[in-house]
Amino acid sequence: MKQDLLAIMPEIMLIATAVVILLVDPLLPVDGRRGLSWLGIAASVTAAIATWQLRDEEYSVFSHSIAVDKYSIFFKILLLVVAALAMLLSEKYLFLKKRLLGDYYALILFATIGMMVMAEAVDLITFFVGLELMALCSYLLAGFFRYQERSVEAGMKYFLTGAFASNFLLFGMAILYGLAGSTNYQEIGDAIRLGPVPSGPLVIAIVLVLAGFAFKVGAAPFHNWAPDVYQGAPTPAAAFLAVGPKIAAFAAILKFFTIMLGSQESTWVPLMIAVAILTMIVGATMALLQKDLKRMLAFSSIGHVGYLLLAVIATGSSGRSIGMSSVLFYLAAYTFMNMGAFGVLVHMTNHSSFGDTLDDIAGAGKSFPWAAGIMSLFMLSLTGVPPTAGFLAKFYLFSAVVDAGYAWLAVVGALFSLVSAFFYLRVIVYMYMRSPEQELEMSEDGKSWDLGLGLGIAATGVIVLGILPAPVVDAAQNAVVKLLGN
């Protein structure tokens, strides 16, 4: 019992903080609520340190439903970084929009706990509880501006499609349970590998699980919710939603498709190839057409999911170790560059009458010299240009894909990165090479240390992961060792 609690100490800390925030919030005046943001950030940082302290141990607790090992620790720390960054980006924005409520921070913390559970679960039921905790908080975050039609629409849309996706997953998981007689990943995997398992239901289960996850990460053809949700949600919440749930879902996807379904590669690899290619097509081509930056970033993140799926495909083959660790590294890089990009939009909204469109960003090179500079950094990183994190991530990922024998898929991926270069560069073109059609109204109210710190961390992350990636690469490689042992 003691071990059980020790292993989930970081989660307990977050729960306690979230509860405190909820209790204290109504007692505070609006100005006092700013401190809640720092409370949440402090909790995330402490939890991350606590997680890091567990790195040398391995716990399999709560009747082997939660595994705290290097793999889950990598993801948990990454998720806590996402949570902390999201809170750094949010404070000023919420204040200016007059929705600075403690609930927001509590929701982020609860969602983070759900994601952490998704990453560390080795049992279907535990996984599903984590998933739903994350999902419910996400719907609320998307619809947090309840006086804005767009935000409410985003929350509603996210909820309906999310519930649908959860049901797919649940149904698939139920079939897996029915086939294996257990909810433990390892036991299911053994049963499928060893036993005679009726292939019809197994294929159905694989298709359902894949579809469910495709919904959750926003892979085509189940991606339609993403642009509307990111556009409608409050920008900092969109930053969180574009990154956090994807990380958690990929943590689970890797476990599902190696531990449980590793022996069924021949079934899921072709399916996933189709999904990945379709996702890249949708992501790249639709992003080309967008005028709204948040929608553009939504389609761009769909494109990145396509690349990530390529690496998952590589895990299904000889390139297992590198395939998995490349997913981990890619997610780390993606965190910084994507949250950074959203963060710059938040910054511009705080300081001016910025309306998230390409025309609004025209001439930002002059009116926001620093923000435009790091926005260019994030755009180049998303394109995959060295020496940024995005390049190394893509390089590592293509290595995995080529190594697994899918050089042609890497070529397809490269082709879409070329297309994507066009719309990422367009942001830079607008910022530096065009002059604004009408000047933005600037205001000085938006000054925020939190946001500056958040953007600084994101930019530093992008550069450090691009130039000195060795520690993170090593961590990613160590993290997947145990998973491969199975």
């Binding site: 000889s318 180049l380 240009v385 060295p386 020496p387 390049f391 390089f395 590592y396 293509f398 290595s399 080529v402 190594d403 050089a407 890497a410 070529v411 490269a414 082709l415 990165s417 070329l418 270069a421 066009f422 560069l425 830079i428 073109v429 530096y432 090479m433 065009r434 990636p469 060795a470 690469v473 090593d474 490689q477």
Partner: protein, 520 residues
């Protein structure tokens, strides 16, 4: 794993590569008058040029082994190391880069009016990328520098360029990026194929890769991927279409670096990677490349002949001249390779100078239309003198640098195939035609407007920026040995590498059929 060659006492390659980037950061953070950051830029590029002279001084020119080696593990779990080293070819091109970078600072001193600070910073970052490409001995690093030089150039064209700058910048970026992505996948593929066993780390070190052998099919595919990336940069016909747009829109300094150094990076890549890594494929594909080169030579010259815009004329002449580079290199004999490298060097000097002069002309006349000029030798006698010198050098007048390279390149091609050499030499005649005709229309034939007498002739600043290029052009023309000495050992090493694969001989047509037979 660690390796450091004590040749000069400090890691000169690292310094010479990253000093400009540090300068760029200093410029970005500089506050104060424009002269402060212009001064920083001038100082940094000046020091870098001196460093490159030191490098040549200490360089042992009688060996083909890589020198000034610096090697430190970088991302060891992926087999990537920080590995820098140079041979004669790199040293020569590094010197060219630092020289041109130094020259463009005074040349663009007053030309850029808007956001000067970022302009000079971009230039310094660009210099780092360019020198880095010439120093890298690790494929991963090579690729990183290769891409790093792309971004500043994209900004230079897109922010400080002419009216259609955005179109030109995006076209430039997408063409190059498309090539790079193919190369990236080829890099990854050969790095993984070169491993001793499936659990070993991939091999990115060029020293090790040069000893690896790849199957014929892998060689052909990887060669093509690399080659397309380099051919876009060179640029070879038919991948050259970005070049005229980029040059016409780019500011003068951008054109100078673009034509002077960036195009050379393509030729350098072919020498450094394509030939040593894939000798089988090179021998098989060389005839096709030669055909393309000859088309480029003649086509570029013909198109130059009909240009109405002075800058476009120089741009298309680059396509023609760079055809001699690839023709020389892929003749696959020592004379041809040396010729190719000499053309690169001399083209860097001469085209750099021509673009500078077009820029100076534009600053005075505010037009580049040849039809609006005429009789300019009257108001601008100094300009006319410089113009005639560089135009003559560019058309290959013996005694100046252009002649040496093109002559050697043609000799190389002649040994490979006589008919090809015959066709290629038409290019030289056409070069004389378009350059002399251009000179006549610009400098003689009746002055259009008397008001140009009120515009001053070349200032000291402009003369100082052109003079070093002129001196080097004469030097390389009269006593090319200084430069040939540098490139002779590495060129010999390349041909030795090719020798075992060159057994088959016969006419070009026979070779083409032979290579087709090998593919299927």
């Amino acid at each position: 794993m660690y390796e450091f060659q004590e040749q000069i006492g400090f890691p000169i390659l690292t310094v010479i590569t990253f000093l400009p980037a540090l300068g760029g950061l200093a410029v970005l953070f500089a506050r104060g008058k424009p002269n402060v950051y212009k001064g920083i830029t001038l100082a940094v590029t000046g020091v870098n040029f001196l460093l490159s002279l030191v490098l040549i001084q200490y360089f042992d020119r009688y060996t083909a082994t890589m020198q000034f080696v610096e090697k430190v593990p970088w991302i060891s779990s992926l087999g990537i190391s920080y590995h820098m080293a140079v041979d004669g070819i790199s040293v020569l091109l590094i010197m060219l880069t630092t020289l041109l970078s130094l020259i463009i600072v005074p040349a663009s001193w007053n030309y850029i009016k808007d956001r000067e600070l970022q302009f000079f910073a971009a230039f310094l970052f660009l210099e780092t990328g360019l020198i880095g490409v010439f120093c890298a001995r690790d494929l991963f690093m090579f690729y990183v520098f290769w891409e790093v030089m792309l971004i500043p150039m994209y900004f230079i064209i897109g922010v400080w360029g002419g009216p259609r700058r955005i179109y030109a910048a995006i076209k430039f970026f997408l063409f190059t990026f498309a090539g790079s992505l193919l190369m990236l996948i080829a890099i990854v593929a050969i790095a993984y194929l070169a491993r001793s066993n499936p659990f070993a780390t991939p091999v990115f070190d060029m020293d090790l890769l040069e000893n690896a052998t790849f199957s014929y099919q892998v060689q052909v595919l990887a060669f093509l991927a690399f080659f397309i990336a380099f051919a876009v940069k060179v640029p070879m016909w038919p991948l050259h279409t970005w070049l005229p747009d980029a040059h016409v829109e780019a500011p003068t300094a951008g054109s100078v670096i673009l034509a002077g150094v960036m195009l050379k990076v393509g030729g350098y890549g072919m020498l450094r990677l394509c030939i040593p890594l894939f000798p089988d494929a090179v021998v098989a594909i060389a005839p096709y490349i030669l055909v393309l080169s000859i088309i480029a030579i003649v086509y570029g010259a013909l198109v130059s002949l009909v240009q109405k815009d002075l800058k476009k004329l120089v741009a298309y002449s680059s396509v023609s001249h760079m055809g001699f580079v690839t023709a020389g290199i892929f003749a696959l004999n020592i004379v041809g390779i040396e010729g190719g490298i000499m053309v690169m060097f001399s083209h860097g000097l001469l085209t750099g100078a021509l673009f500078l002069m077009v820029g100076f002309l534009y600053e005075r006349l505010h037009t580049r239309e040849i039809s609006e000029m005429g009789g300019l030798a009257g108001p601008f006698p100094v300009m006319a003198a410089f113009f005639s010198f560089f135009a003559l050098a560019s058309l290959g007048l013996p005694g100046l640098s252009g002649f040496v390279g093109e002559f050697l390149s043609l000799v190389g091609l002649f040994t490979y195939s006589k008919p090809m050499a015959a066709v290629a030499s038409i290019g030289i005649i056409l070069a004389a035609a378009y350059l002399l005709w251009m000179y006549q229309r610009v400098m003689f034939t009746g002055l259009r407007d008397q008001k140009w007498y009120k515009v001053p002739d070349y200032s000291l600043r402009e003369i100082v920026s052109l003079a070093p290029l002129g001196i080097l052009a004469v030097w390389a023309g009269v006593y090319p040995n200084t430069f040939l000495q540098l490139i002779q050992p590495p060129a010999a090493r390349l041909t030795e590498k090719m020798a075992p694969y060159m057994a088959e001989s016969g006419s070009v047509v026979e070779r083409i059929f032979a290579s087709l037979g090998g593919l299927f």
